[in-house]
């Protein structure tokens, strides 16, 4: 409980609230630096009280992981359907960022990014989402664009009631969707068991009163956490998570998904020694297996049926410790490693002719081992100095003969493994005095090239309509990052502003090769991944929380990113200026929340990928909640209208010319016991 409270306060800090009874005067803790560099959103239940920020992030108990991510000021989502949206951090996309599930590396099994790892988890599985940009981002792996670590929810031990839990169910009219979640916790003195189960089913949604085809989906998600207290402050923890999605429409792509299945499992040991110098130790072994299969059988105009299954298997381990090696220094050391094998196939079935087969991911094994070291040094009561770095050994190898010979077509010799040493170094200073706090950080980072970029074989990109070919000779992308955070808080009001600038070298993009014929029927041409000398991403985020009246709170954020390439031309898939505001009124058992999202037009588009401009839009959502106490339990009724004015719109990061849902009336019930 206390720990949760701690994190909740942490959020306030990260957005710039004043209350700060936490920072220990003697020693630096994670929170001192993190509150400026790391945003953490707590998700799991058992949070008492009415917290506007939490409600802001998780508008309903059946919100999806993506719903929560979208509200983080630094995160935007690439949308190819109404399922499995891909997080983008400050304009950096999947290959450039690091995404982990409680430190577990997961790689999607779809060549077209239809299954980012976030799609295999549910808020019911999670305790919190940790977003790190620039300075803190390399903890979970080499990246140039930031990291998201989704922390798994754990069983609670020694609970008041042996069994507690939550059941929630909601229904939305526009998509005739139902979302249901059950969470159970059994907490004995030394042993705890937590279960969560989620079932979602959505039909095609309506926009402008018209059905938008191929926006349906269904999924089931189960997770189990078993936690055993070995001795005081030492725990053994087992996580098993299974996610199974099927019949998933991807309106913006030429194919849907027949099924997407993930099995994720981990065994960890955690210890919080009472020894003051040695404050924390964790070790974990994990694995995950993902199968993804595309489906074109429901599309009316498919020129030729094809099967496109993909597999991704990852096994890894890490160990982490925090040492207060003297009263002014906190040292965090983390070492991690994993091995990932991906394979994707494409088999096309022409009428009256032989099937055509190729490997779109040619059995690529990536093995990475790394070391991360972070030191926070408390200079004085006002200043903390931070230095951290990561070195990764990254080895990629095409493991099958078929995969090897296939790449001969492009005169690529992949007999030898590609071995790279990736380096990340960050340093920063944070300052806090009275109501003002700030931090500044500088960093250099490198990221591994992705399987698509290195070995992809005729991967059709529906965004620009080109087939993409990998290039095993790519250099690794590098970035110089600078970030400045300024925060000011007075009673009931906090404001925080972040500026960032990333100078990227060896920026990787597809270059059109007119001499290579396009494989995909109807495609525009073939591109090969190449690199331009540099690109730049810069922008800012502003966060504001304030109590306007005693019962009326406002949470608001604004975000803007500008991306330019070598020739000062716009980079693709950059979100325009966007404001999100949430006004919340609470009175005893009743609460009402009005929310506004406004996005400006995006006219800075990339001609290289045939990007289209997107007009501005504004949305209003309304939600109301009424809570009953039923003995020891709580019954909550909620209802809402999303897109109240039935605006017909698309976000700039939405693929295809697919509208978002129109007015959507929803109602739900939750029972917490």
């Amino acid at each position: 409980m206390r720990f949760l409270k701690y994190i909740i306060i942490g959020i306030f800090l990260s957005l710039g609230t004043a209350s700060n009874g936490l920072a220990q005067e003697c020693c630096p803790t994670d929170s001192i630096y993190k509150r400026l560099a790391l945003q953490e959103v707590v998700i799991t239940e058992n949070i008492s009280g009415d917290n506007a920020l939490l409600k802001f992030y998780k508008s309903t108990k059946t919100s999806s992981t993506e719903d929560i991510l979208a509200r983080l000021a630094a995160v935007n989502l690439i949308r190819r359907g109404s399922y499995a949206m891909e997080p983008v951090i400050r304009g950096f996309s999947a290959n450039q960022t690091s995404l982990t599930l409680d430190g577990i590396k997961i790689f999607g099994a779809c060549t077209d990014h239809m299954d980012p790892p976030t799609s295999y988890v549910e808020p019911s599985n999670l305790k919190s989402i940790q977003l790190a940009t620039s300075a803190m981002a390399s903890k979970f792996g080499s990246n140039i664009g930031g990291s998201l670590n989704l922390q798994l929810a754990q069983a609670q031990l020694g609970t008041e009631k042996p069994v507690s839990g939550m059941f929630t169910s909601s229904y939305s009219l526009a998509s005739q969707s139902t979302n249901n979640a059950l969470e159970l916790n059994y907490g004995a003195k030394k042993f705890g068991l937590r279960f969560s189960g989620v079932y979602r089913k959505a039909g095609n949604y309506l926009a402008n009163s018209q059905e938008v085809p191929f926006t349906q989906y269904q999924k089931v998600n189960f997770s189990i956490n078993a936690k055993y207290m070995l001795k005081e402050n030492s725990f053994l923890s087992l996580d098993i998570l299974a996610d199974d999605g099927w019949d998933i429409g991807y309106a913006a792509l030429p194919m849907d998904v027949a099924f997407a299945k993930a099995k994720i499992y981990a065994l960890s040991f955690k210890s919080y020694p009472k020894n003051k110098a040695f404050s924390y130790f964790e070790a974990k072994v994990y694995g995950n297996n993902i199968i993804h299969s595309m489906d074109d059988t429901k599309r009316p105009l498919t020129p030729m049926h094809m099967d496109m299954p993909g597999w991704s298997d990852t096994y890894g381990a890490y160990a982490e410790t925090a040492i207060n090696w003297n009263p002014k220094n906190l040292l965090t050391i983390r070492t991690d490693g994993y091995s990932n094998l991906t394979r994707a196939e494409m088999t096309m079935y022409p009428q009256n002719s032989a099937p055509m087969f190729m490997l779109t991911w040619p059995d690529v094994r990536n093995t990475t081992a790394g070391l991360y070291v972070n030191n926070d040094y408390l200079l004085n009561k006002k200043f903390t100095y931070n230095l951290n770095g990561r070195v990764d050994y990254s080895r990629s190898k095409v493991t099958s003969e078929t995969g090897r010979t296939q790449l001969e077509v492009f005169n690529y010799n992949v007999d030898n493994a590609r071995i790279k040493i990736l380096k990340n170094l960050n340093t920063g200073v944070s300052y806090k005095s009275g109501n003002f706090h700030s931090s500044v950080s500088l960093g250099y980072s490198e990221r591994p090239s992705s399987t698509n970029e290195l070995y992809g074989f005729y991967l059709f990109n529906a965004y620009d309509g080109y087939d993409y070919i990998g290039n095993p000779n790519l250099k690794d992308e590098q970035s110089l990052n600078a970030e400045l955070n300024l925060g000011y808080s007075i009673k009931n009001t906090a404001v925080n502003i972040s500026f960032f600038n990333n100078e990227i070298q060896n920026y990787t993009l597809g270059k059109y090769h007119p001499e290579i014929s396009v494989m995909t029927i109807g495609g525009n041409g073939t591109k090969i991944y190449e690199q331009v000398a540099n690109a730049n991403l810069k922008g800012l985020e502003i966060g504001l929380t304030t109590a306007l009246l005693k019962n009326l709170q406002l949470v608001s954020n604004a975000r803007y990113t500008k991306g330019t390439d070598n020739d000062n031309k716009p980079l693709p898939l950059i979100s325009p200026l966007k404001f999100t505001s949430s006004l919340r009124y609470t009175k005893s058992k009743f609460s009402l929340q009005a929310e506004n999202v406004w996005a400006s037009a995006q006219n800075h588009v990339s001609a290289l990928v045939n990007e289209k401009t997107t007009p501005a839009y504004t949305l209003v959502n309304l939600r109301g909640t009424y809570t009953f106490k039923v003995k020891q339990s709580k019954l909550e009724l909620n209802a809402g209208v999303e897109n109240l004015f039935d605006t017909y719109y698309q976000d700039h990061l939405d693929w295809g010319n697919i509208p978002r849902p129109g007015r959507n009336v929803m109602a739900g019930v939750s029972y917490v016991f």
């Binding site: 030729m304 022409p350 190729m358 296939q406 001969e408 077509v409 074989f457 494989m519």
Partner: protein, 271 residues
Amino acid sequence: MKNILKYITLVSFTILSAACGKNEEITKTPINKIKVGEAYALGAATKIQLWADADLNTGYNKLYISALDSASNQQKADATFSIKPMMTMNMTGGMPMTHSSPFEQADASAKKDMLTPAAAIFSMPTSDSGSWKIEVTLNGGKKAIIPIIVKQPTESRLTTTTSVTDNSVYMVALVPSVAYKVGSDDFELQISKKIDGNTYTAANDLTVEITPEMPDMGHGSPNNVNPVFTKNGHYKGKVNFTMTGYWKVNLKIKDGQGALVSEDTFFKITF
């Protein structure tokens, strides 16, 4: 993958059954070879045996010749050979007609494991209206006439083209590959110029361009290497296949003067 496996299984079965069948006949069985015919060279007390890598097909076939002493059944190590393929056609209501086909003469210097290599480009399969024989001359003297069966492969490995410039007739044969795969494959042609029905010469001064194509999808493949002349009418290059399935490799052939011979010939390759 499945296809490749199937192919490998098939090939290994062929190899195995071929190897097993021959063991009883002679002590030294040529490895990976099939006996496609044999006959006595009359008056030389010698049996001539004809071997091949696979069943004989219309198109280019590598042949291997060996000689056995009729009495001792021992290999005759010093035998030399020359060959000539002959097709006898049973013309309805007329005299049988014979013609030959392009071939590569037995090369004693390339003899290996008692087998002297040669090659024949059969222009048609054995049928009711015609049959093939190979005339093998032993040590420049006695002859053996060996009947053989030539089959029509499922995909043609031979095309005859008449030059649009000077009406010369060329026989373009695809030298078969052991197993086509996704990736970069050897692509070898043997091209002969027809002088008359019995006389062909190796065409050594042509230029050949190849353009692979997948007719079901309408795409090609990049980085192919056009076949260039090596020797005896052979042209070697590389063809790139980006996937399994049905490919059409289009040929554009020009003669020594750079004049167009043909640009509408092709080979179909399915694997």
